[in-house]
């Protein structure tokens, strides 16, 4: 399955309004469990794990944050993507505000698959137009299209 197919209309947040990183992560996880209802019972656990993970070292860079954790007892990948128009201080190493967030929860095993997924999303996120196109998106489908169109060949 292409990595972009992990995302559905439920996993896209076009206009994140939160003004701190914990609220952003909570919003992303809410979208994630809407797309994958089997994770609803673990929603708070996932939010806390993402917060703890980011506290160890920000995944923010070049306007994009990719918060991610692995989850024991979970056998599939869950994702969400959100756009914050104004940009948020996500403690990125380059000091730049983060406008696009991609949250990922993955199974405890599948190390190789996870590395490939991270490589893919980092490649998409690195595209010079990714952040500006994402901020200009008028609807959810345009975000989903971006993930397909900007993927490396």
């Amino acid at each position: 399955m292409p990595h972009a197919a992990l995302f559905s209309e439920h996993s896209v947040l076009l206009d994140l309004q939160a003004d701190d990183s914990e609220s952003i992560l909570a919003s992303l996880v809410e979208a994630m469990v809407t797309a994958k209802p089997e994770l609803v019972s673990r929603q708070d656990e996932i939010v806390q794990a993402l917060i703890a993970r980011e506290a160890e070292g920000s995944t923010g860079s070049q306007g994009v944050g990719i918060p991610h954790v692995k989850l024991e007892g979970n056998d599939s990948v869950a994702v969400a993507i959100g756009v914050h128009q104004e940009g948020l201080d996500f403690a990125a190493l380059d000091g730049e505000p983060v406008h696009v967030f991609v949250a990922i929860v993955r199974p405890a095993d599948q190390t190789d698959e996870h590395l490939q997924l991270m490589r893919w999303i980092a490649s998409v996120a690195q595209h010079q137009d990714f952040v500006s196109f994402a901020r200009q998106a008028k609807d959810v489908q345009q975000i989903l299209d971006l993930l397909t169109e900007l993927a490396p060949a």
């Binding site: 794990a49 703890a52 993970r53 160890e56 070292g57 920000s58 995944t59 923010g60 860079s61 070049q62 994009v64 990719i66 991610h68 954790v69 692995k70 989850l71 024991e72 190493l93 380059d94 990922i104 993955r106 405890a108 190390t111 190789d112 996870h114 590395l115 490939q116 991270m118 490589r119 980092a122 490649s123 996120a125 690195q126």
Partner: protein
Amino acid sequence: MEDTVVGTAVVANPHGIHARPSHAIVSTACEYQARIELRCDGRVADARSILAVMTLGAGEGTSIEVAASGEDAVQAVEHLVRVLQAAEGDAGKEAQNRGESHA
């Protein structure tokens, strides 16, 4: 033209270079003035960009070349090779000690 200093590190972590080791690599690279690239399997990444480092997708056993140019290139390469090899093991150990879940 400035000379390029090159060193090699082999990824020891069974989880490969995921985000946390990438963070350690970028933090280290930012301590130096030298321009630093990481190279593996034909891919090249600016060591100051966490996204670029993650695009290497370097798994366990992958050999990574650290190439730096600039006045502190020697020190930068030595330090980064050490971080690439040491941070990997340390990261795994820390996670185990805390019993937390990490990607």
